[in-house]
């Protein structure tokens, strides 16, 4: 078993794809910050507090997009059994988890500030419930991976749980929407009717930046997973040779 066929030595942030992601993200983040804080006008009702919408909502988009990527790579992993797909599954699972945590932490902060304490209105909002459930499932998937005796078992179980989590998300969302019996308002009133074009542009830029960030973090995490896999294989090989 060749532990490290292909390029030897440094596997640091190599690859043209990753470099492109790095450069575009580095440029795009200051731009997004400018757009969100300076370019976009204050919202009518909530004022400056509404600006978190430019970060919180894109983070949510990215989280749910992440669930789709988890599903795709998990299916690929289970059908092909290639370690490569496990690295993608692990990367997408972990990065989605990070963004999911961000959404969960910032949402209530925003809601508390905006609604000034009417917790009951938003605490079981469909989007919050769906995000919370997704977070629990992603945490479970990551914990099971860690607890598995072998890397291969962890990969399989992680993929299975990833698939179950991703499939559950739309169902949970539907169920929680029905449960409330009405559509609770989460966005500030200004959003539904004629969103100011400047706000729309700022929102678009921020969404793009978050997707770029997602791509960058997944690329890095995948690389880390691959290098760790190779290191583990090399260590195993070294210990086998030491014994023989």
């Amino acid at each position: 078993m060749q532990a490290y066929e292909g390029s030897r030595g440094s596997s640091r942030w190599s690859g043209p794809g990753t470099l492109i992601l790095w450069s575009t993200t580095t440029i795009a983040i200051p731009l997004a910050l400018y757009m969100a804080f300076l370019y976009a006008p204050d919202e009518r009702v909530m004022g400056a507090a509404q600006r978190i919408f430019y970060f919180h909502v894109p983070a949510a988009f990215v989280t749910f997009f992440g669930a789709v990527t988890i599903f795709a790579s998990a299916v690929a992993m289970l059908t092909t059994r290639a370690p490569r797909w496990d690295h993608w599954t692990l990367a997408t699972t972990e990065v989605s988890w990070v963004f999911c945590t961000i959404v969960l932490l910032t949402g209530p902060i925003w809601a508390k500030a905006a609604w000034k304490g009417r917790v009951g209105d938003w605490i079981f909002d469909p989007k919050l419930a769906t995000t919370a459930i997704l977070w629990l499932l992603l945490t479970g998937a990551l914990l099971v991976r860690r607890a598995a005796a072998s890397e291969e078992l962890g990969a399989r179980l992680g993929a299975v749980l990833g698939i179950l989590a991703a499939v559950d998300v739309p169902i949970v969302h539907k169920a929680t929407v029905w449960w409330r019996g009405h559509h609770p308002v989460l966005f500030a009133p200004g959003k539904r009717d004629a969103l100011d074009p400047r706000m729309r542009l700022a929102f678009l830029i921020c969404t793009i930046v978050f997707f770029l960030l997602f791509g960058l973090l997944v690329a890095l995490r995948r690389q880390l997973a691959e290098v760790e896999h190779r290191a583990r294989a090399a260590a195993e090989r070294a210990s086998n040779e030491g014994r023989s």
Partner: protein, 50 residues
Amino acid sequence: MTSYGALFWAYNLIWAVIAGYLLHLILRLRGVDRRLAALEREADRAQPER
């Protein structure tokens, strides 16, 4: 952003978490790279002996 103190922290939280994760990944990548390089050097040393 002026009157909502909690909101200010929320904004910072987002970037802090993302930056923290990025840093964490980079550090881990460096560590594993070093380990892999060391293992490869060891294997190289072992090879000529055969």
